[in-house]
Symmetry: C2
Subunit: 266 residues, 2 copies
């Protein structure tokens, strides 16, 4: 069976998009995993099945291992790029349905795509982050998934450390968390490296950048937009009412074609 | 600019194929690197530009970093699959030109694809392979690129060791080598893990499997075909006259489409 696909990314967080407007496809976890496998398939951090349900575009997001996820910030932005570039939506401001509810996306005059995420909440808890023998002080945020944000003097000193397991030994994080390490760059701008649970270091993490931005706004006692430089590019985060944030950045479609499900599974 | 591409692999060694039958394309190293980048591009171990020169199919092979390479065994097999599946060749036995000269490829009755490689030569030199504090005894082979083959009792005991630098501290290998670790499985069958210079551990290495097979034939004093199980599948190696070998295994095309060179470079 041949399946149409698109490959795209948002600051290096990459996705295989499968247009399934009529909601006909039931991809098994194994099929998703092999499509996302970087050697045997197309390769991606996640798969987005694009469905139209009751007149609204819906994002069926799957992790690279085939498991379901509620939402993915950068994934939503890349899906929005697809809908816009294929002229499936004509407004520059619209809604995408997700398992975590409807999210608002928009295209701005710089050709960047925004998504509104959150709430991003300060859990007011200081934790000890451990990487082998090293310890960092981190603050717990929920976005709403758990993030632990640590400020470090120089990100480059982390070297290859994020290839090792990163964890905070507290009961409430027994299922893991995402760990952001942040270096101050200039006023309202920081640089970040991120360790995602179940994955390791990644080029970008949308919700992580949002948690970091809210942390920095509190740290600098400012409401100004925060620029977060991730290894895969640059994201801008603005605060909105009710602890929501607007995450803005590039979203690019790099290829499209057909994949051969039979060959993939052979 | 849009470019047609095909993604395929041979035992997990994966390639982006760019059909350029009329030899019109001059891809820069940066363009090759971004196409092969697994987050920002399609992602592959290498890129194969498929050209017809003076009536013969030619493989312009590039490493994932954009540099030129003379030949790639598994890549040749995947290119042969492309030529066969597109009916650009009709014989089951034909020649592909490479920078290392013409190589013979063929399709067998099990739908496997073979390529004739070599010469594979025993350099009759025993080396010490080092991984951090650990040492292994290895034998140097050229296929014709350098390979150091070490027999170990249990491959699983290597664990994550191949994430560390592997090297043999001798002058003639200052440019590195490929290191194969081999476990005996049954008569004429071994299992192998491979560390490729400039890359690290990979799912498969065609020339490495050939070096290992010739080593095992000498070890077992046999001319019989050797099956080499790599992490990405199974390869069969037969000896031919003049120290040549026939490497046989699966070659699969999993997707095809168009990539957007402008979006890739943005």
């Amino acid at each position: 069976m041949k399946l149409k696909f698109i490959k795209g990314h948002g600051t290096g967080n990459d996705f295989v998009l499968i247009p399934d407007h009529d909601d006909q496809l039931d991809l098994t976890p194994d099929q998703v995993a092999v499509i996302c496998n970087r050697s045997f398939g197309i390769g991606a951090d996640g798969l987005i099945r694009i469905v139209k349900k009751a007149g609204q575009w819906f994002m069926d997001y799957r992790n690279a291992d085939g498991s379901h996820a509620e939402i993915c910030g950068n994934g939503t932005r890349v899906m929005a790029r697809y809908l816009l570039s294929k002229k499936l939506v004509t407004e520059s401001n619209f809604t995408i349905g997700t398992r975590a509810g409807d999210v608002q996306v928009s295209l701005d005059e710089n050709n960047l795509i925004s998504v509104i995420l959150g709430p991003v909440i300060d859990e007011k808890e200081v934790l000890t982050v451990q990487i082998q023998g090293f310890q960092f002080q981190g603050e717990l945020w929920s976005a709403p998934n758990p993030h632990v944000v640590s400020i470090v003097e120089d990100l480059s000193q982390l070297g290859n450390m994020l290839e090792l397991p990163v964890f905070a030994p507290v009961d409430k994080l027994t299922n893991g968390a995402n760990f952001e390490f942040v270096q101050l760059v200039s006023e309202h701008k920081v640089s970040m490296r991120v360790y995602e649970r179940g994955v390791g270091e990644t080029l970008s993490c949308g919700s992580g950048a949002c948690a970091v931005a809210k942390y920095m706004q509190a740290y600098w006692t400012t409401d100004a937009a925060i620029t977060v430089v991730v290894p895969g590019g640059e994201l801008i985060i603005e605060s909105l009412p009710q602890q929501l944030v607007r995450l803005t950045g590039p979203a690019v479609l790099v290829a499209e074609g057909e994949l051969d499900l039979e060959a993939l599974s052979s």
